[in-house]
Amino acid sequence: MRAVFNKTLLEIAKKDKRIHMVLADIGFGEIEPFRDTFPERYYNVGVAEQNMTGVACGIAMEGNIAVTYSIANFPTLRCLEQIRNDVCYHDANVKIVIIGGGVSYGALGMSHHSTEDLAIMRALPNIVIEVPCDNNEAIGATYAMIEHNGPFYYRCGYKGEKDIHSGPVDFKIGKAITVREGSDITLMFCGPIGSEVVEAADMLEKEGVSCRIVSMHTIKPIDKDAIVDAAKKTGGIITVEEHNLMGGLGGAVSEVICDTGAYPKVFKRLALPDVNVCKIGGQKWIRDQYGLQARGIADSIREALGKRK
């Protein structure tokens, strides 16, 4: 997904001279085409994320679009106040891109897991949050990011994500995409963990359980209609995300349910527990440790629906 993002941004930047990239010395093997094509719109501020964000804000305040880019929490939590006070307060056209949402960086360890970002970024006024699930959504989200005038957080995957959609998607900010229709339960997910959700649904299909699957790629502004719709149309909602249980997709969906009174019969949030993840292993292995691989998700769905395997 990282490669697709960079390729798409490069294509857009060929036509849109407002786009500048401001880096903090991260992006080896990916950002070089942008650097070599647009040296006058490319800055590496060194390992200095606060400055990266402040500089990007200054560039954006002058009618440009500034993209900050780094891995995991470096361009978000490390410089959170610059995002809050400089970018969001001034409605600056800064696009914050992280590579490696969730536990994409696996065995690199806790410092490189982005597992609280959605909760923290969601609390900031005036920002759009996108979590594309596959390369199709990644392309759509990149175009949407540049078209949107204002602060934007793009939680990109890493590499090797499975396609969830069969082809290009009609990508609109704040508009969930239905991956599959179904009647027993709606599975709402964000990000590449969606491939596990699809696999879990396939397993359950064979057992006669019909799962509806919805990609909630926009975390803010959340698609309220899709949530109310899911509560009405199917027997319940289960959210799945590669994020701390607190304040991410599951939190956002449950807020809408409470605010609208559209209570589903069954509701469950599947996410990482509220711990610092220090288990050592790859992304899929870590997911499995917390019941977030396909079989664990399928187990949780069965349990929620009161069904036995």
């Binding site: 501020v45 060194g46 500089v55 804000c57 200054g58 305040m61 009618g63």
Partner: protein, 267 residues
């Protein structure tokens, strides 16, 4: 230059009255920069109150956002905002918040948390260069500002990028929130440090309007380098009993002393 002195005097009077009325702090920080802000707006900055969004205007960022009242005073004197807004500073249903806000006409950028001004100024300087504009970016910082890591990140990157359209002015009153800077995070020798970081540095008496004007007229001090003007100032300059005290960061002039203090300034 007499006009600069008049503007600075009015900055002092307004700042004292505004903080008195609001029962708010930071008067010392406002008074130490009175001449700096007066010279900037009277002699240096290419700005137009009738057209505050003019594209090629010089940009001014107050990184020491807590001294906002001093800037509000100048903006009122220069006609960017109505005079009566000064009476609605730091109060319910106010017009002017305690820390500088871009919601006020003529204010480029909001600050309040230290260390935010210079990185943004660097970005604006890069954008000016990209746009092919000869506008300059001025950023006014405090001792406390110069403690922040983000300020030093920006200092290093500004010289790396040879941003000679960028001017950092330090209101060097040598006091910060909990005491004298030399006892907390000693910046000396600031000029030498900045030269080593690739900047061109000059130092003036920050209460001498002629010296300030002479120096600021000469930016950039060196081609291809960002400029820093270190202004030696006295915290709370003009209120004798509060001058050069940490307390002036927190206290305001009480009602019973107001008339006497303002009379001494010449108001």
């Amino acid at each position: 230059m007499e006009r600069c002195k008049e503007i600075a005097k009015q900055v002092r009077i307004d700042s004292i009255k505004m903080t008195n009325s609001a029962h708010s702090g930071h008067v010392g920080s406002m008074l130490s920069m009175a001449e700096i802000i007066a010279v900037l707006y009277e002699k240096i900055l290419r700005v137009d109150p009738k057209n505050p969004d003019w594209e090629d205007r010089d940009r001014f960022i107050l990184s020491k956002g807590h001294a906002a009242a001093a800037v509000y005073s100048v903006l009122a004197q220069k006609g960017f905002i109505p005079q009566d807004w000064l009476k609605r500073y730091y109060c319910d249903d106010g017009k002017l918040m305690g820390h500088i806000s871009h919601k006020v006409p003529g204010v480029e950028f909001s600050t309040g948390s230290l260390g935010h001004g210079l990185p943004v100024a660097v970005g604006m300087a890069i954008a000016a260069r990209y746009a092919g504009s000869n506008r300059r970016i001025f950023c006014l910082a405090s001792d406390g500002d110069m403690n922040e890591g983000s300020t030093w990140e920006a200092i290093m990157f500004a010289s790396q990028e040879h941003l000679d359209n960028l001017v950092l002015i330090v209101d060097y009153n040598k006091i910060q929130a909990l005491g004298f800077s030399k006892d907390i995070e000693d910046l000396t020798p600031l000029g030498e440090r900045m030269e080593l970081f690739g900047w061109s540095a000059r130092r003036v008496n920050g209460h001498d309007v002629e010296a300030l004007n002479d120096a600021l007229k000469q930016v950039p001090f060196a081609k291809g380098k960002p400029s820093i003007l270190i202004c030696d100032t006295v915290k709370c300059k003009g209120i004798d009993y509060m001058e050069n005290t940490v307390e002036s960061h927190y206290r305001f002039v009480p009602d019973e002393k107001l008339e006497e203090v303002i009379a001494k300034i010449g108001g």
